[in-house]
C-alpha cells in the first residue's frame, strides 16, 4: 500500500509539472504580446511597456516560468491587473464559497444517489425501479439553471424560506452561510445525483450477478447480507470514478448556478477575468483548478486501492 501511495504521489507531481508547462506554454504561444492583449488595441505604447516590465515579460521564457512556479509554490500568485490586489487573496476569498459549495453539493449527491441506486438495483424491474429510472432520467435532462430559478420562485419568492441569492459571508455564522448555499447546492446536485444513482444501480446489478454472490448465498447468507458484505464494496469501484469527475466539475463548473444565485465563486472569477483579459488571474486560477483535479484524482486512486486489494499489489 505504501509503495502504491508513493507511486501515485510520483505521478501526481509529474502531472503537476506537465500541467504547469502546458498552461505556461499556452499563454506563451498565444499570438501577440500578453501585455498589449490585456490592455486592448487602443493602449498607449508606454502603458504597454510598463505592464511588460511589471509582468516580467522582458525576461527569458525559462526565467519567467521558474519565477511563476516558485511564486505558485510560495503562495505568491502575482497581482491581478484589473483588481489591483494579490491574486492569492482574491482566489482564497472565492474558494471560501466554491469549495464548501462543491463539498455540500457532492455530499447531497452521494446521500441521495447511494440509497436510491441501491434500492433500484435490489428491486430490479419493480415499480420502485421504474420510477427511479424515470426520475433520474428527468434529473439529467432538466437544465439546472431552470431548476434553480424554479426553486428561487418557490422557496425564496413564495415561501420565503431562503433568500433568492447572495452570500452573507462566513462571518455571519455557519448556519447563515450554509443556508445561503443550500439552494445552489441542491440545483448543482440534482443532475449529479441522477447520474450517480444510475451508475450505482447498474454497477450493483453487474456485481449482484457475479459468481461470488452465488458463493455467498450458498454459504447461507441472506440476499441482504450478500449485498452488504460482498456486493457493495465491489460495486463501488466505477462509482468512485464518477464521484472524482463530479467533484472536479462542481468546483469549477458551477458558473451558471453562481450567476443565478449571485454567488462570488471561482467560476464567476474566471469568467470575469477572461472577459477583462486579466491573464494573471486566468493563469493562476486555471493552475489551481488543475491542481484540484489532480489532487482529487490522487484521492480517488487511493480510494480504489482501499477498495480493491488487486491494485495494492500491482506495482
Amino acid at each position: 500500500m505504501l509503495r502504491y501511495t508513493v507511486k501515485r504521489l510520483g505521478s501526481l507531481l509529474a502531472s503537476l509539472v506537465v500541467a504547469s508547462l502546458v498552461i505556461f506554454a499556452c499563454i506563451e504561444v498565444v499570438p501577440g504580446d500578453p501585455a498589449s492583449f490585456m490592455l486592448g488595441i487602443n493602449a498607449q505604447p508606454d502603458t504597454v511597456a510598463a505592464l511588460r516590465e511589471e509582468l516580467g515579460l522582458n525576461r527569458a521564457p525559462h526565467e519567467r516560468y521558474i519565477a511563476w512556479v516558485s511564486g505558485l509554490v510560495t503562495g505568491d500568485f502575482g497581482t491581478s491587473y484589473t483588481y489591483r490586489s494579490p491574486v492569492s487573496e482574491i482566489v482564497v476569498e472565492r474558494l471560501a464559497i466554491s469549495l464548501p459549495l462543491a463539498i455540500y453539493a457532492l455530499s447531497l449527491t452521494i446521500l441521495v444517489a447511494f440509497p436510491v441506486g441501491i434500492l433500484a438495483a435490489t428491486r430490479r424491474g419493480s415499480l420502485t425501479d421504474i420510477s427511479v429510472m424515470a426520475t433520474t432520467q428527468l434529473g439529467v435532462a432538466i437544465p439546472n439553471f431552470w431548476f434553480a430559478l424554479l426553486m428561487v420562485l418557490v422557496f425564496a419568492v413564495n415561501l420565503r424560506w431562503f433568500s433568492a441569492g447572495g452570500f452573507p459571508g462566513w462571518d455571519e455564522g455557519f448556519l447563515a452561510a450554509v443556508k445561503a448555499l443550500t439552494l445552489p447546492a441542491i440545483a448543482l446536485a440534482l443532475p449529479q445525483a441522477s447520474i450517480l444513482a444510475r451508475v450505482m444501480r447498474s454497477s450493483l446489478l453487474d456485481t449482484l450477478s457475479e459468481d461470488y454472490i452465488r458463493t455467498a448465498r450458498a454459504k447461507g447468507l441472506t440476499a441482504r447480507q450478500a449485498l452488504r458484505r460482498h456486493a457493495l464494496r465491489n460495486a463501488l469501484i466505477p462509482v468512485l470514478t464518477i464521484i472524482g469527475l463530479q467533484f472536479s466539475f462542481l468546483l469549477a463548473g458551477a458558473i451558471i448556478i453562481e450567476n443565478v444565485f449571485f454567488l462570488p465563486g471561482l467560476g464567476r472569477l474566471v469568467f470575469q477575468a477572461i472577459s477583462q483579459r486579466d491573464l494573471i488571474v486566468v493563469e493562476s486560477v486555471v493552475m489551481l483548478l488543475v491542481f484540484a483535479v489532480i489532487i482529487v484524482n490522487f484521492l480517488v486512486d487511493l480510494a480504489y486501492a482501499w477498495v480493491d486489494p488487486r491494485l495494492r499489489s500491482r506495482t
Binding site: 459468481d211 455467498a216 448465498r217 450458498a218 454459504k219 486489494p309 488487486r310 499489489s313
Partner: protein, 518 residues
C-alpha cells in the same frame, strides 16, 4: 437412510419447462456423478436442492435433505440450511471468490454467520479447514487475497468454504472443468478424501464421463431435463442400456477415421524461437526483470500432417501461437511458413488461419455471417464472392442461406463450424486450432473432429492442434509436442508419446488424465 432424495422434480423458468420429473437419491458417504451435456438441467437440479434458482423459476415435486422437505422451507430456514447442511462448489474458481476479501475472511464467514462464534475463533477454524484442503497456514496465510492464488488453489478455498461446517451433502458443479489435468487430479483426490473422512454425500456434476466414472460410486445420466439412466459407475460401460449413454461413450472416445497423407516436406518451421516478456521493475528506474515465456523452441510441421501441441496453462503455448501467426515478434530464432519468414514477409500469413476456443467471443455480434466468414479477404484486397461464401458454409455442413443470419442465432457447435468456414474461405494451407473443441459438448466435439478430418482430405490442410486435452489430441494428431515451462520437453508420434513417454512431465500429465473404462 437417504441423505438427498429428489422425487419427480419439475422446474420451469418463465414458463419454459427445464426439468421434467427428475428423481435421484444420494446416501451418506456416497459419491453420485451426474453427467449430461450443456442444457441437460444438471446444474439446475443442484440449484433446486439449494433453492438458489434464477428469478422466474417455478419448482414442484419433492426434495428432502436428511428427511427435511426443502420446497416447503421458508427463506430464513433455507439460509440456515445452506452452508451448514449443504455446501456447494462451483465451476469457475477464478470468479467464485470475492476479489476484495481475504481468503481467511471468506472461509470464516461460513462459520460466523451460522454459529455466531467470535471472529478469532472463526478464523482459527478457517485455518484448520484450509489446512484440511491442503492450504496450510505456513504457505497460504489467511490474509491472502484470491488474486494471489492459482486456479487450483482458489478451488481449494471454495471447497474449504463449502465444508467448513461439515455439511452432510456437498454439491460440486463441474469443479475441475476450468483446471489443468494435473490440478484436476489433485482436486478430485481431495474431494475423495474429504468424503471418506467426513462421510458426506457428494453430488459430482460434470460433462466429462472419464472424470465421473473415475470417482463416483453411482452415475446418473441426464438429457433434456430428464434422467435417462442410473448405473454403478465401475460397470457403467458394460451395463449401459440407454442409447444416449452409449452415444455419449462413443463420442467421448471418438476416433475420427483418418488416412495418413503427409508429405515429408516441411510447411511450418519453428527454429530456436525464444520470447521474453518484461516484468514490472522491482526498484525505481531499475532494469525490468525478464520472464522467458518460450524458450528455444524448435519443431516442424510437415504438409498434410496434424500436429498436437499439448501443455497446461502458462506453459507458453499461447505465446507461441501468437508468434507463429506473426502477431508478436520473437527475440530469438525464426519462424518460416512454406520457406518464407512470417515476420519479414507478412504476405505469407494468408496461407495460415486460426480457429479459437470461444466460438462466441471471436465474432463481431453485429455482423451477419456472410461478412464474418469473408473477413480474411481483407488480406487479399478483394471481397468474397457469394459463391465462395456459399461453398465455405456448405463445406462445414451449414446451408448457404445461413449467411444472412447473426451469430447469436447459432448453437456453440454451429458457431465453431462458422469459425472453421471463416478460416477455410481463402484456402489456407495451415490451420491453427487453438483449443478449438475445448468448449464443446462431447457429441458436438466428435462431429467437429470428423469435420476437420474430412476437410483436411478435401482441401489438403495441415493442422497445428493446440490443446490441454490429451484424449482429443490422441484421437486426431499424427505427432505430439509436449510443452512445459516454455520448452518442448518431448516430441514424437502419437503412439510413441502415449505408449512410451520418455519425459517425466509427460508421464505426470498422462497419469493425471482421467481415463474411460474399457
Amino acid at each position: 437412510m437417504t441423505l438427498l432424495d429428489v422425487q419427480n422434480l419439475v422446474l420451469s423458468i418463465h414458463g419454459t419447462s427445464v426439468l421434467k420429473g427428475i428423481s435421484l437419491d444420494i446416501a451418506p458417504g456416497e459419491i453420485c456423478g451426474v453427467i449430461g451435456e450443456s442444457g441437460s438441467g444438471k446444474s439446475l437440479t443442484a440449484l433446486s436442492a439449494m433453492q438458489l434458482l434464477p428469478e422466474g423459476s417455478d419448482c414442484s415435486g419433492r426434495i428432502t435433505i436428511a428427511g427435511r422437505d426443502v420446497l416447503s422451507m421458508r427463506e430464513a430456514e433455507l439460509c440456515r440450511m445452506r452452508g451448514a447442511d449443504i455446501g456447494m462448489v462451483f465451476q469457475e474458481p477464478m470468479t467464485a471468490l470475492n476479489p476484495v476479501q481475504t481468503i481467511g475472511h471468506q472461509v470464516a464467514e461460513t462459520i460466523l454467520i451460522h454459529e455466531g462464534t467470535s471472529k478469532a475463533e472463526a478464523l482459527s477454524r478457517a485455518a484448520e479447514t484450509l489446512a484440511r484442503c491442503e492450504m496450510p497456514q505456513s504457505r497460504f496465510p489467511l490474509d491472502r487475497f484470491p488474486h494471489e492464488l492459482s486456479g487450483g488453489q482458489r478451488q481449494r478455498v471454495v471447497i474449504a468454504i463449502a465444508i467448513a461446517l461439515g455439511p452432510k451433502l456437498l454439491i460440486a458443479d463441474e469443479p475441475t472443468t476450468a483446471l489443468d489435468v494435473t490440478t484436476q487430479a489433485e482436486i478430485l483426490s481431495l474431494l475423495r478424501r474429504l468424503v471418506d473422512e467426513d462421510g458426506m454425500g457428494l453430488m459430482l456434476i460434470s460433462h466429462d464421463l472419464a472424470v465421473v466414472t473415475g470417482l463416483a460410486d453411482d452415475v446418473v445420466i441426464m438429457k433434456d431435463g430428464e434422467v435417462v439412466e442410473r448405473r454403478t459407475a465401475r460397470t457403467l460401460h458394460r451395463d449401459m442400456t440407454h442409447p444416449y449413454t452409449k452415444a455419449l461413450f462413443e463420442a467421448s472416445g471418438h476416433q475420427p477415421d483418418r488416412t495418413e497423407s503427409r508429405i515429408e516436406e516441411p510447411l511450418l518451421k519453428v527454429e530456436s524461437v525464444s520470447r521474453d516478456y518484461l516484468l514490472p521493475r522491482r526498484t525505481f528506474l531499475g532494469a525490468h526483470p525478464k520472464m522467458r515465456a518460450v524458450d528455444a523452441v524448435r519443431f516442424e510441421v510437415r504438409r498434410g500432417e496434424c500436429v498436437g501441441l499439448v501443455g497446461e496453462s502458462g506453459c507458453g503455448k499461447s505465446t507461441l501461437t501468437r508468434a507463429i501467426l506473426g502477431l508478436e515478434r520473437v527475440q530469438e530464432g525464426s519462424i518460416t511458413l512454406d520457406g518464407r519468414d512470417v515476420f519479414a514477409e507478412p504476405d505469407v500469413r494468408r496461407k495460415m488461419q486460426v480457429v479459437f476456443q470461444d466460438p462466441f467471443g471471436s465474432f463481431n455480434p453485429r455482423h451477419r455471417v456472410a461478412r464474418l466468414v469473408s473477413e480474411p479477404f481483407h488480406r487479399l484486397n478483394r471481397s468474397a464472392t457469394t459463391d465462395e461464401v456459399d461453398e465455405a458454409l456448405t463445406s462445414v455442413g451449414l446451408a448457404p442461406k445461413d449467411k444472412h443470419k447473426y451469430i447469436h442465432e447459432f448453437s456453440g457447435g454451429q458457431r465453431q463450424r462458422i469459425a472453421i468456414a471463416r478460416a477455410l474461405i481463402i484456402r489456407p494451407e495451415l490451420i491453427i486450432l487453438d483449443e478449438a473443441v475445448s468448449a464443446l459438448d462431447v457429441s458436438i466435439r466428435a462431429q467437429i473432429l470428423d469435420l476437420l478430418v474430412d476437410l483436411s482430405v478435401t482441401y489438403g490442410l495441415t493442422y497445428l492442434f493446440i490443446t490441454h486435452d490429451l484424449t482429443v489430441v490422441r484421437s486426431i494428431a499424427d505427432r505430439i509436442l509436449v510443452m512445459h515451462a516454455g520448452r518442448i520437453v518431448e516430441q514424437g508420434t502419437t503412439d510413441e508419446v502415449f505408449e512410451a513417454p520418455r519425459d517425466t512431465y509427460t508421464r505426470r500429465l498422462l497419469d493425471a488424465a482421467p481415463k474411460l473404462p474399457v
